[in-house]
């Protein structure tokens, strides 16, 4: 009898929590559904270690863009130029190594620094000249496309012979020496995965305790435990699949560092708080002494920097710079940001969400490629996903307001 009452209240709880947190949980549900569908339609090929490993490496160059794009969207702007900017900066890094014989580190630094400059230029147009961001960055889209073609004009494709550079997009972290247990499994990857899970659990428990101290309504205990188990299983599953292939790739390491740093800045620092404040109410932020201009410069500067990083990841993965590098990256990054919970009306969005969004977009590409779906249909499907994400955003926002 009491178990039945418990069951009913449990279902009620789940229902209520799902309704309240649908924005946050919708993307996880979307990711799981997409992965399940492709696993079935490809008869398990999609979920194989090899494919997931490749998928995560492909997600890298979109994921870093998506993180930057989420911040841009938080402050109510958009950046259409980052795709070709990423392609152009990858080509600059390639040229620096191949034609100017610069060392790898200098070439990477050059691409990233140029990215920051490009972002600052966009911010100048947006913050100083008051040009709408979509117009300013549409000009950038065209300009960087031209610049990319100029750089790659002589050869068409710049082949990068540098092994260290190419390892960023293709290499894997070394393993600890074999100690007899779990042969054929990447043990350092497993250890790191377990560490991540532990950190996540400790962090979640701490947060829950803090929120309760403020009288804030938190998840009921059983749902909290279910959430912990769910996320731990997800991270654990991915870790296990990766460890079964070649382990953690350098690309993943780069993405994880970007996520950790950006997540920290957005959630713990004054700068992050000011970014959210500007996104939530720019006039109020300005009246509170926050410089909206300064924040705009920081956000577009960071977007440019991440475009440089994305270009390096892409060039490294394909060991070359091509005339079409970066094509439509901006669409995937924008879609990833919206799927990841950013709101077109500003002020909302999380770094972690944008990574999930990027995984959704790349899963779609990877799954449809595996199924041999024609590229024309792929474009249409990606467009529909972008529209669906924004419709979902508007619908949930409207319901929250009621």
């Amino acid at each position: 009898m009491s178990t039945r009452r418990f069951k009913i209240s449990f279902i009620k709880d789940v229902n209520k929590i799902l309704r309240q947190n649908i924005r946050e949980w919708g993307m996880y549900i979307a990711l799981l559904v997409i992965m399940a569908i492709f696993t079935i339609t490809t008869k398990g090929v999609f979920i194989s270690s090899r494919n997931i490993g490749n998928l995560i490496n492909q997600t890298g160059y979109i994921a870093v863009l998506a993180v930057g794009m989420t911040l841009v969207i938080i402050i109510r702007h958009i950046d259409l130029s980052v795709g070709y900017l990423s392609g152009f900066l990858g080509a600059v890094a390639a040229t620096a190594m191949v034609s100017w014989h610069l060392p790898v580190y200098a070439s990477i630094a050059l691409a990233v620094a140029l990215g920051v400059l490009a972002g600052i230029f966009t911010a100048f147009l947006v913050a100083q000249m008051k040009i709408p961001a979509f117009v300013a960055t549409l000009a950038g889209w065209l300009g960087y496309r031209g610049a990319l073609q100029l750089v790659t004009m002589s050869k068409g494709t710049i082949v990068i012979p540098n092994a260290a550079f190419n390892a960023i997009g293709n290499g894997y972290i070394p393993d600890i020496p074999d100690i007899g247990i779990l042969p054929g499994v990447h043990k350092l990857t497993l250890i790191l995965g377990v560490l991540v899970i532990l950190l996540f659990i400790i962090n979640a428990i701490n947060n829950r305790r803090k929120m309760r101290a403020y009288n804030f309504e938190v998840l009921p205990m059983h749902l909290f435990i279910i959430k912990l188990v769910f996320v731990s299983a997800l991270v654990g599953g991915i870790t296990w699949v990766l460890a079964g292939y070649k382990g953690l790739s350098w690309t993943t390491v780069v993405v994880l560092i970007v996520v950790l740093v950006y997540n920290f800045i957005m959630s713990r620092t004054v700068l992050g708080r000011h970014i959210y404040a500007v996104g939530g109410n720019p006039e109020a932020a300005e009246l509170s002494g926050i410089s909206v201009k300064k924040i705009t410069y920081v956000i577009f500067g960071s977007m440019g920097m991440l475009a440089g990083l994305s270009g390096i990841l892409f060039a490294s993965r394909f060991k070359s710079a091509t005339t079409t590098a970066g094509t439509l990256f901006e669409l995937d990054a924008i879609a990833a940001a919206f799927v990841g919970g950013a709101s077109a009306s500003g002020g909302l969005g999380k770094v972690t969400g944008s990574i999930i969004g990027a995984l959704v977009m790349m899963s779609l590409t990877s799954g449809m490629n595996l199924m041999g779906i024609d590229i024309s249909y792929q474009y249409i499907v990606r467009a529909l996903v972008l529209v669906a994400a924004v419709v979902f955003d508007v619908a949930t926002r409207n319901r929250e307001k009621e």
Binding site: V270, R273, Y276, A277, G279, N281, A285, L287, E400
Partner: protein, 275 residues
């Protein structure tokens, strides 16, 4: 008592927006621990006058004295340094942030500073906000609630609490009771009384004369950018209303005569906007 130096004195304030003369030489005095009501028809210049005091606008002409000393207020930070805070009509809150984050917006408490990166002291901000809400008897269940989930009255209370949080000497409220339910209006007026009891000096703008009547010590009326009445709040509410409405709608205009002769409109120059 009449000799005491006023906490705020504004003299001959003028402000134009393009061709619109929003303020045509207004004087304002606010005494220590006084609640001053500011009324007037739409576009009379009430918000503009207060935005000049809070540093959001720069006047074309005129002087401001804080506790007898001439003050140069050219941005909200200057005003804040002088202890002047304004609750804006359109509620300067960020709905996507929680109550504590809004109270501390722009003045976040820092625990560790690493170069350009300052780590926030969330614990301190949460506790201080809770203490502030308790002190002002504001009923909000958690300082971690997002502002968008609060009622209109609670939002107004957060905006007022935020304005009084940091050693504020003068709190300006622009239409704090507009668009609120009757119960919520009562709570906001209670909050104004509470602040006065705690020693604040307050200027409150309102369309609702009964609100002004209930909480103010003195009241001034603006009409077409000019002060047309400045009187203690006293006597019966119906007499009070009748008298004040006559000034608001311009049926009566005997204040300026002899006190400070204003030039005629034709003689006033159209001034360029100062940014």
């Amino acid at each position: 008592m009449g000799e005491a130096i006023p906490i705020v004195e504004m003299r001959n304030i003028r402000k134009s927006f393009g061709g619109v003369q929003a303020l045509r030489g207004v004087d304002l005095v606010l005494h220590h621990n006084e609640v001053l009501g500011l009324v007037g028809d739409n576009a009379a210049g009430k918000s503009t006058l207060m935005k000049i005091l809070s540093g959001a606008y720069i006047p074309n002409e005129g002087e401001i004295f804080i506790e007898g000393k001439k003050a140069h207020i050219i941005n909200p930070w200057d005003a804040r340094r002088q202890g002047i805070e304004m609750v804006y009509q359109d509620l300067a809150l960020a709905n996507n942030l929680d109550v504590a984050a809004n109270v501390f917006m722009g003045r976040e408490a820092v625990s560790v500073k690493l170069g350009p990166i300052s780590i926030m002291d969330e614990h301190h901000m949460g506790q201080e906000t809770q203490r502030l809400l308790d002190r002002l008897k504001i009923d909000i269940s958690s300082v971690r609630l997002k502002v968008e989930s609060l009622s209109g009255g609670q939002r107004q209370a957060v905006a007022i609490a935020r304005a009084t949080a940091f050693n504020t000497k003068v709190t300006i409220m622009d239409e704090p009771t507009a668009a609120l339910s009757v119960a919520a209006i009562g709570k906001v007026l209670d909050l104004v009384r509470e602040l006065k009891a705690q020693g604040c000096s307050i200027i409150i703008i309102s369309h609702r004369l009964e609100d002004i009547y209930q909480v103010s010590d003195r009241m001034m009326v603006l009409r077409h950018g000019r002060k047309v009445c400045d009187t203690p709040v006293a006597g019966d509410i119906d007499d009070f209303r009748e008298r004040v409405v006559a000034y608001i709608i311009g049926a009566r205009d005997d204040f300026a005569e002899g006190v400070s002769k204003q030039p005629n409109n034709e003689h006033e120059e159209v001034q360029d906007i100062v940014h």
